[in-house]
Amino acid sequence: MAMCNTCDDPFFVAGIALQSRLFIGTGKYGADSLIPAVAMASGAQVITVAMRRVEKGQQGITAHIPATMRLLPNTSGARTPEEALRLARLARAAGCGDWIKIEVIRDSRYLLPDGYGTAKAVELLVKEGFTALPYINPDLYVARDCASAGAAAIMPLGAPIGTNRGLRTREMIGILIEELDLPVVVDAGIGRPSQACEAMEMGAAACLVNTAIASADDPVRMAGAFRLAVEAGRGAWLSGAGVVRASGEGAQASSPLTGFLS
């Protein structure tokens, strides 16, 4: 029996193979110096960073990100597609690469993404050669628009950001997984490893977890727990979990209704 049931099971974003299906973030830590240890424990290859936190040169938050990781700058603070594009250009100019997590948000109460603006931003960024990963509500129409505009993956929220409430949008995320040919990376709202595991069992390509790790009393240990949970969920998906009977389905009826067909 293989020790690791998810080894050699990469998924692809813009043609790049990623072995780890856990993305992590850089915000909310009590010290940025924790980031390398968190990154190591998580096994993540992709890490988000808000451009609003990035400073010129090699100082500040980016100095703590392991050089082997792929940066995924986000456009936090953008309210329009054009603003997202400007932040993406700044990210590229700052040496943060071409992968951009698009955030277009015009709501300061719940920080919910603007689907229309996000789809438009994907179009603008892709035209300029960026690899666009849009953060959206799990809305099929918005997701399809993003996909048509050239998004490399779709990042639907499980619950409002920072709430740690888990997969409140479970049904909708399930539809995106079923309908889209792109990787679906569940982002925002995942508060416990079991919830990340659940997303992976559903067939999500990956999970992005920040608050739950950064706000834990021991972020490094929590990062390790999420790594295991994501691997477990992926393993379950790959192994074809048994069908769960809906409540009321009960056991096999002793007098089948279709028995007359035999």
Binding site: G27, K28, Y29, G30, A31, D32, M51, R52, R53, V54, E55, G60, T75, G77, A78, R79, E83, A84, R86, L87, L90, I105, R106, D107, S108, R109, Y110, L111, G162, T163, N164, T211, A214, S215
Partner: protein
């Protein structure tokens, strides 16, 4: 769209006081155990009935702050450009009647001061002036903003109330945030405290955040100066002002400052001092009511208080502060400040003390997304 002033008329002072008096322990627990608090719930958390539940409210506030802001506190520093003022605010050291040497920085002097702030690593600056349009005109403030823009990620202003066109001028000059304290939301008291000068216009000041938001400002800070009005009427008014602004300008980041009046030049006796326990009750009630609102605490509070309230909801604090014009430049002979500072720590000291409690001082948390 109705204005906030119209909305506030539905909550006259007497109604606020009566509702707070009538709130009971059950109302407090109901507010504590639900999400999406309404103004009535906030009032219950501010009421005397909430006092015995302070620890439980603080626990919830800490949890919310941790989830939405993490273990980080953003630092900024104020730069006083001018203490020339035509107002006679009875509680303020810059009161026009106070006999004192006044100073007004030229654009180049302001740049020199700003540069000495920038070397500390801070990337957020707040420009302040007295209310004297002839010397500290909107054009002057815009010129300072343009001059110092390369040094900072975020430029805020805390100046007299401007027109919409003037806020637009500042937006174009690179200013992204406006702080406007109403001081007190009770019109009659406001008139007594501001007997002379343009600031006397209560309604014009109250609507300033709305004009600033319409002019494209990305961030608004509001607040009352605690110690002037009784606690509940102003604490509640500030909270519902922030709530109303969030709902009506959803794309704008709203923050609330929590200043308590400090000693200054003059003979003003604080009518309604807010003691520490009530001050903390205000911060944690605000956090429960508005989980994602920024809460700013200045050096009016001492280091002990600031270090302890950071985990309870405060997300932004000033550091390395001088409230005197020219006070940030080494070797400058600054005059007395607007108020007496209670926390004189340097930026590095604030950073080190936050680290001791497991919190990180963030010096940059904004990137202007507009060219």
């Amino acid at each position: 769209m109705a204005t906030f002033q119209e909305f506030l008329r539905g909550w006259p002072v007497e109604r606020r006081l009566r509702a707070a008096e009538n709130a009971d322990s059950e109302a407090v627990l109901r507010a504590l155990n639900k999400d999406g608090l309404r103004p009535q719930d906030f009032l219950a958390l501010l009421s005397p009935a909430a006092a015995p539940h302070l620890e439980a409210i603080a626990q919830k506030a800490r949890d919310l702050t941790l989830r939405y802001f993490g273990r980080s506190v953003q630092l900024f520093t104020p730069l006083y450009l001018s203490d020339i003022c035509t107002n006679q605010c009875r509680y303020c050291g810059f009161n026009a009647k106070n006999k004192r040497k006044r100073r007004h920085l030229t654009v180049e002097e302001a740049f020199k001061s700003a540069a000495s702030i920038a070397v500390t690593g801070l990337r957020h600056i707040l420009l302040l002036t007295g209310d004297a349009r002839k010397v500290s005109s909107p054009e002057y403030i815009a010129s300072v903003a343009r001059r110092i823009k390369p040094l900072f990620a975020s430029i805020g202003v805390e100046v007299y109330a401007l027109t919409g066109e003037e806020y637009a001028l500042l937006t174009q000059a690179g200013v992204d945030s406006v702080t406007m304290f109403q001081e007190t939301y009770t019109p009659r008291l406001y008139a007594q405290l501001h007997p002379v000068g343009p600031k006397r216009d209560y309604a014009f000041r109250l609507a300033a955040p709305e004009r600033a938001a319409s002019a494209g400002m990305r961030s608004l800070g509001i607040g009352a100066l605690f110690g002037l009005e009784r606690f509940v009427p102003d604490a509640f008014a500030v909270g519902i002002h922030a709530w109303w602004l969030q709902r009506n300008y959803p794309g704008v980041e709203i923050s609330v400052s929590v200043p308590r009046i400090r000693p200054h030049e003059g003979d003003f006796a604080v009518p309604n001092p807010v003691e520490d326990r009530l001050f903390v009750q205000y911060i944690v009630a605000l956090r429960c009511f508005l989980p994602r609102v920024g809460i700013t605490c200045s050096t009016r509070e001492n280091a002990f208080m600031r270090d302890h309230i950071a985990p309870l909801g405060v997300t932004r604090i000033s550091a390395g502060v001088s409230t005197a014009v020219g006070g940030v430049c080494p070797g400058e002979n600054a005059e007395a400040g607007q108020f007496e500072i209670a926390d004189t720590r340097t930026v590095e000291e604030v950073r080190a003390d936050l680290a001791k409690i497991g919190y990180q001082a963030v010096v940059k948390d904004w990137e202007h997304p507009v060219d």
